[in-house]
């Protein structure tokens, strides 16, 4: 679906070699007998797993242990290493068993049964059983989990049907949606879960043990010596440092102080990976799109919404913001979705003339409105392109920048104003899950004050589909409706990118976090 895996990009940076030479000549020693530059340096080369070493990672957003259920960007390097899931979906959506060993679907795909791994213990020493799975799901459904998945899990019965067996029964078919939900549900320790809230006690079954935590700045994990997989993990420990400024983050990578950086924009990541020492890791996806308040002028007119859909220069966004790695479909779903209607994907392409006509048809030439956006570099850059596109077709947008903390409450109450830009980690989830998980696509209670009986019916039909062919037919009908009403206009689905030192090998990349259970630092 997206370009995945590692890309050593472009030509080598000759300056780096030169610099290496310079410091080898002893320039680094000018400073003193010990040099911090040297001490943090790293090398690279072999292919066989090596035991030992500490992996240092950096994130731009701070780790928030209290948000262990949600895919916060700051949590990607610790969450799946301390707390494990029943299974993890890797970057190719392959199901890798962790705490579950096998599973099956039955009863018209409405019952899911999983056999659990035996002989697993929490970091506290307590044995892991089916009750812990039930407990974790209960917490999730009680509101600790992603609010966006609550609708899909409504009416679920999660029961321990043996000491090491769990059964989920649902009023709706599960074959599409159960995997991503298992992927997002970490198994927590019922005795200590309250410690997760402030990070004072974080207990899981994972390959690494939460050892020291400074809120907002630093987190250290050490090897779990009694991990259930023999010989794993290879690493002695993992450290996460928070570096908010991208220049500084790039500098930290360059200096060898850190080996993996998350939270850099794609373009920044490409900058650093253009040399030899770093690989670009691209995986899963973020969906970028524009929502409109359809209950108030000017976007109560569907023609104007279509005009915007034609006005946006998706290729420019892809090339100049997403580093050319994105796809630019008119539909919000990932191309891997069951029954993806590929022929509808390019309904809206860049066509300023048509957009201008539609603006005139809507009688909106010269219309002034605000576009709300997150006060982050990537949304800003997208805004600049879209604002330019819209001015070119006769509209007059102005920005309304909000912090994420201010933006999201307004989004969930539909008060962001006439238009707004969002990005969402729901990209690539099954459409049956997305229509509930992505606020913009919800039949009711969405952020655009959009309410349409036919849309609601089509969305429900998709959720109720229990096999591939009905899913495909219904997804096509729903897609057509989304395109016609254009209450949400996607313009980019782009992989999440990280820069990673070439010496780091065998990282499993999940949607909500990496697991370093098999990772090692090549010498």
């Amino acid at each position: 679906m997206y370009p995945t895996g590692r890309f050593p990009l472009g030509s080598a940076l000759s300056r780096r070699t030169l610099l290496g030479g310079l410091s080898a000549l002893g320039l680094a020693n000018v400073v003193g007998c010990r040099s911090a530059v040297e001490e943090s340096g790293q090398g690279g080369g072999a292919t066989k797993p090596v035991r030992g070493g500490t992996l240092v990672t950096t994130v731009a957003a701070e780790p928030v242990p209290g948000a262990y259920f949600t895919g916060r960007p700051g949590n990607i390097f610790w969450c799946r290493n301390v707390l494990e899931t029943l299974l993890i979906l890797d970057e190719n959506d392959k199901r890798i068993p962790l705490l579950a060993t096998e599973w099956s679907l039955s009863e018209g795909n409405q019952t899911f049964t999983a056999k659990l791994r035996e002989g697993v213990t929490f970091h506290s020493g307590r044995p892991f059983t089916a009750d812990d799975v039930v407990f974790s799901f209960e917490r999730e459904m009680a509101g600790d989990g992603l609010a966006s998945f609550n609708g899909a899990m409504e009416g679920w019965q999660v029961k321990a049907t043996g000491e090491h067996e769990v059964t989920i029964t649902s009023p709706r078919p599960l074959q599409e949606i159960v995997w991503p939900i298992l992927d997002v549900t970490p198994i927590i320790d019922k005795e200590t879960y309250q410690g997760l809230d402030d990070g004072s006690k974080v207990i899981g079954t994972g390959p690494f043990v939460w050892s020291s935590y400074q809120a907002g700045t630093e987190l250290k994990m050490t090897r779990n010596d009694s991990y259930w997989a023999d010989g794993l993990p290879y690493l002695d420990g993992v450290e996460i440092t928070v570096i908010k400024d991208s220049t500084a983050e790039l500098a930290a990578l360059r200096s060898g102080r850190v080996q993996i950086a998350g939270g850099l924009s794609t373009v920044d990541t490409q900058t650093i990976t253009s040399g030899d020492s770093f690989d670009l890791v691209a995986h899963h996806g973020l969906l970028y799109g524009m929502g409109f308040d359809v209950s108030q002028p000017p976007f109560d007119k569907v023609d104007l919404r279509h005009a915007v859909a034609y006005a946006i220069d998706r290729d420019r966004i892809n090339n100049q913001v997403m580093g050319g790695l994105a796809s630019s479909p008119s539909l919000p779903w990932g191309e891997d979705a069951t029954g993806y209607p590929a022929e509808l994907a390019n309904t809206y392409t860049y066509d300023p003339d048509k957009a201008r006509q539609l603006v005139q048809k809507a009688g909106a030439t010269g219309a002034q409105f605000t576009i709300a956006l997150h006060n982050q570099p990537v949304p800003r850059r997208i805004y600049e392109i879209i604002a330019r596109n819209l001015s070119d077709v006769g509209l007059r947008p102005s920005p309304r920048e909000l912090s994420i903390a201010d933006f999201e409450p307004l989004r969930s109450t539909g008060k962001l104003g006439p238009a707004y830009l969002i990005w969402s980690a729901t990209a690539g989830l099954p459409p049956a899950l997305m229509v509930d998980a992505l606020t913009e696509l919800r039949p009711s209670g969405n952020s655009q004050n959009y309410s349409d009986e036919k849309y609601a019916r089509l969305a429900q039909a998709l959720i109720d589909s229990s096999d591939e062919s009905t899913t495909a037919t219904r997804l096509r009908a729903l897609s057509q409706k989304v395109l016609d009403d254009a209450f949400f206009v996607p313009y980019s689905i782009t992989p999440i990118t990280n820069a990673r030192a070439s010496s780091v090998r065998d990282v499993v990349i999940g949607r909500y976090g990496r697991t370093f259970r098999t990772a090692y630092l090549a010498k």
Partner: protein
């Protein structure tokens, strides 16, 4: 808040005329001439920006982060826009901000400082208020303003205005106190000349010098405020360029495209240099008397 000229403040000026002549003399010193010349050049560039760059600051192209070429002397930014054009328009943004916010700050600050003329209580109250503002380190005050007003032009304007108030207010107050003790002022009051007349005839002309010098000094601080807030991401809203905002984005491409930082960085340095030289020259000219 830089109060380099505080040493000059006590010595308030006696003579009311000749201020302009003094400033012109300052411009004839080497520092003054260079500072004024630089500033004149920068203002000229900023004013002529729309003529020099008819494409404006938001002329996006396909060739992003390109190196220098005949069409783009310093290459292009991440959206394929000409860096020189954006730098000059950014300079225009900065100068507009400075030349509106700093005088506003000077006028309001001075009035606050002179409030003591109306009533002793008001004067003291204003001083306390200025003390409070002075207590806030510049960028902390700026961030507080951003918290209330959101990011954008108005937050920058208000920040620069408010941060400068104590500088001008205390100066005016000190000047006022010195002048009020002077014989000719006492004499005028004994003779029954109205307060306002005393103020406008005698006090104001004599505190003009420090205000002008301080305004020049504060220009530099104001540039720092704009750029500082922009660099931590709390500056002007896109797509309008400002020197600080360009440094903020340009810093991401230090290695692939150093000109992106160098262009706005150089102009910003020239701008602060111009104001530093000018304020030095003015200060010296004023002191020398």
């Amino acid at each position: 808040m830089t109060t380099d000229t505080e040493t000059t403040s006590g010595a308030a000026r006696r003579e009311s005329g000749g201020a302009v002549r003094r400033y012109l003399a300052a411009l004839r010193t080497p520092r003054g001439a260079i500072g004024a010349g630089l500033l004149g050049l920068l203002v000229l560039l900023a004013v002529l920006a729309p003529v020099l760059f008819p494409g404006g600051y938001d002329d996006q192209g396909d060739n992003a982060l390109a190196g220098a070429s005949g069409a783009h002397w310093m290459g292009t930014d991440e959206l394929g826009r000409d860096i020189v054009a954006r730098t000059i328009f950014g300079l225009r943004t900065d100068l507009t901000l400075l030349l509106t916010a700093v005088p506003a700050s000077a006028v309001i600050g001075t009035l606050m400082g002179l409030a003591g003329v109306i009533s002793r209580w008001l004067g003291a109250g204003m001083q306390r208020l200025l003390d409070v503002i002075l207590g806030f380190p510049g960028i902390v005050l700026g961030m507080s303003v951003v918290l209330v007003l959101g990011t954008g032009w108005s937050a920058l304007f208000v920040s620069i205005l408010v941060i400068g108030l104590p500088l001008f207010g205390r100066q005016a107050r000190a000047g006022l106190q010195v002048e009020q003790e002077r014989e000719y002022v006492l004499a005028a009051r004994v003779l029954g000349v109205r307060r306002r007349t005393v103020l406008t005839r005698h006090v104001l002309p004599n505190i003009v010098d420090p205000i002008v010098v301080n305004a020049a000094v504060y220009m530099v601080v104001a540039v720092f405020i704009e750029a500082g807030l922009s660099i931590v991401g709390l500056g002007i809203q896109p797509p309008i360029p400002s020197l600080g905002a360009m440094l903020n984005t340009g810093a991401r491409y230090l290695e692939v495209h150093p000109a992106y930082v160098m262009g706005p960085g150089l102009v910003l340095l020239l701008l602060t240099l111009a104001f530093t030289l000018l304020s030095n020259a003015l200060n010296k000219a004023v002191l020398r008397r």
